[in-house]
């Protein structure tokens, strides 16, 4: 522990730095049913998510490419390892639980099922970084909604273009 790092130590836990340096499930998913591009125009971060569903609509395969800050990249990496093989309901539940984890200051009883994702909890002390952590999750939410084809989601939803 380095006391002068304060909240940074919780934000940038070793697991997070490791996932940002060596992201898991990084690469193109050749036979993806859905491709979702997630943009954070405020900082230029990009996540390109490829998803394949099983017969029941569960997440059979999920991979991503893109570039961005350590938080967005690690969040995408951790997310893909967690969601692979999960049913649609489980993914939706995880999405809600993760959103609460990184946005709720007082949330000390996060669901145990978040498992490894709990390392992202430090983000809630840095409100400006919530969008970074949520970017891949917004993309996966869109993938569930559309089930096939291609889409783009943005942390700043364009309302008039």
């Amino acid at each position: 522990m380095n006391p002068e790092l304060g909240d940074l130590e919780e934000l940038y836990q070793e697991v997070i730095l490791d996932h940002s340096r060596r992201p898991r499930n990084f690469g193109e998913l050749a036979d993806a049913a859905v491709r979702v591009h997630g943009d954070n125009p405020a900082c230029g971060d990009e996540i390109h998510l490829g998803v394949k569903f099983d017969g029941d609509g569960g997440l059979q395969e999920i991979k991503f490419t893109g570039h961005g800050c350590a938080i967005s990249q690690a969040s995408a990496s951790l997310m893909t390892t967690k969601l692979k093989g999960k049913s649609r309901d489980e993914v939706e539940e995880m999405l809600r639980a993760f959103h609460d984890l990184v946005t709720t200051e007082t949330n000390n009883d996060a669901p145990k099922k978040l498992g490894d994702l709990l390392v992202m909890r430090g983000v809630r002390k840095f409100p400006q970084r919530v969008k970074c952590a949520m970017l891949p999750w917004r993309a996966v939410g869109q993938a569930l909604r559309q089930s096939e084809g291609e889409a783009t989601v943005s942390t700043e939803e364009p309302e008039f273009a």
Binding site: E4, G6, L8, E46, F126
Partner: protein
């Protein structure tokens, strides 16, 4: 910096509008165009660290560390002199302007209009009637694009901008050109962050009706040759607009010497409150510009069917203006001129030069923008850390940087980076703070490597 005094050329202060009694020497800034003359003075006369005491916020601690405020290109801090004037206005003069017959309204009106004259003197305008108060640079540029552009531009006309423009000097022109069918053209930016001026002659054709460009780049620190650009634009009959947001509080500036038709700036980047800005419009041009916003204050007479409008500047100030803001801006001008804009520029250049030298010692760190002839704005990228991570990390040590695209998305694309970290200085910053930044950047690189 390679600036050299022009030998034997000792000048008065008619051109700069500053009130200092000190003798100044004109100096020539290489790369700024042959006619661009700056003043150079010995900055040792100014006790820079004593000025810090005028800024209460500089005593703040952030995350347990003394605040190091290096986000001055976004907004500057405010000295007590400005805060006091604004407070005093509300305590002793507050009333609406230009319509009340009572004593307070007269006081407020007089102070507001005196502030307009103060701005005119500060930028060397021929008359206070050339000074329109706005909300800031962005609103000033929108006023020109919509009111002037809407009347005088036609389908097929060309608006010439540069690749380094802030979104505020790009998006208003996009909106206009979409509406009327005008075309946008751009002066490219060289790899070193300067404008590719050799391309100008092929871009600046007779179809160009407006050349709008920034004086100092908010990302790269590049200082553009305003005099030269305005002359060339005028030669083809184009109107010019200078975005002076980053230069106004940082260097001597005189609109008649620059030769521009319009000039836009914000108060908040030069020690004044937010929400007040200025559009300078040369009288010959601004008089022909139709109203933009309609409402009270800007009319002569109104019937149910039709209205007639005041002359500039009041034609463009519909509704109750930001009176306290204008008065605060005049107080900021007094404060800045008490230091001297030439001194402030020299201090910026000294700090930027020192920071560039120290940053060159850091492996894996790349600075964007020109190596010399630049203002106190430094954008950089670090191999080890994304700009967002770097900025969050630095903040933990009380160092306020900006991380991101700085409202310069096309420019970031031009340099192939998603964004940068940016340190931007003002006169209350010190070399010691830069040393501390270097330590923090070293820690950052170690942490993320």
């Amino acid at each position: 910096m390679g600036a050299r005094p022009v030998e034997g050329l000792i000048v008065d202060h008619k051109s700069c509008g500053c009130r200092s009694s000190r003798l100044r020497i004109k100096w020539r800034e290489p790369g700024l165009g042959a006619d661009y003359l700056m003043h150079k003075v010995a900055t040792s006369r100014v006790d820079w660290s004593a000025l810090r005491a005028d800024f209460p916020i500089l005593r703040e601690r952030v995350n347990g560390h003394p605040l190091i405020y290096f986000d001055n290109a976004a907004t500057s801090q405010k000295p007590r002199a400005v805060l006091d004037v604004v407070r005093s206005y509300y305590e002793h003069e507050n009333a609406n302007v230009h319509r009340g017959l009572h004593a307070l309204s007269a006081r407020a009106t007089e102070h507001y209009e005196k502030s307009r004259q103060r701005v005119a003197d500060f930028i060397g305008a021929a008359s206070a009637d050339e000074i329109v108060f706005t909300r800031g640079t962005t609103e000033s540029i929108n006023l020109v694009a919509q009111a002037w552009g809407g009347k005088f531009l036609r389908a097929g006309d060309v608006i010439l901008l540069t690749e380094m423009e802030h979104h505020s000097n790009l998006v208003p022109w996009q909106l206009l050109s979409e509406r009327i069918g005008a075309q946008l053209r751009f002066v490219p930016v060289r790899d070193d962050g300067t404008l590719a001026l050799e391309k100008l002659s092929s871009l600046l054709t007779p179809e160009v009706k407006m050349l709008a460009f920034t004086h100092v780049s908010n990302s790269l620190g590049t200082i553009n040759p305003v005099v030269d650009l305005c002359q060339k634009a005028r030669a083809v009959g184009a109107v010019t607009l200078v975005d002076a947001a980053q230069s106004i509080g940082h260097m001597p500036l005189n609109v008649q010497e620059l030769g521009c038709d319009f000039l836009a700036f914000s108060g908040h980047k030069m020690c004044a409150p937010t929400g007040i800005g200025v559009l300078y419009g040369r009288s010959e041009i601004v008089e022909s510009v139709p109203p933009w916003h309609g409402g009270g204050e800007m009319i002569v007479s109104v019937t149910l069917e039709k209205s007639s409008f005041k002359k500039p500047p009041h034609r463009f100030e519909a509704g109750t203006p930001n009176i306290a803001g204008a008065i605060g801006l005049a107080a900021a001008i007094d404060y800045i001129e008490g230091i001297g804009r030439a001194e402030i520029f020299q201090h910026d250049v000294d700090l930027a030069g020192y920071a560039l030298k120290r940053m060159a010692e850091l492996p894996g760190l790349r600075v964007l923008g020109p190596e010399r002839d630049r203002g106190g704005v430094i954008s950089f990228v670090m191999d080890a850390a994304h700009p967002h991570d770097l900025t969050t990390f630095a903040d933990q040590y009380g160092l306020a940087l900006r991380g991101g695209h700085h409202c310069n998305q096309p420019l970031m694309r031009r340099f192939g980076v998603p964004g940068t970290s940016r340190a931007s200085f003002y006169f209350y910053n010190t070399r010691e703070e830069i040393d501390r930044m270097i330590e923090i950047l070293e820690k950052t690189a170690r942490f993320f490597k």
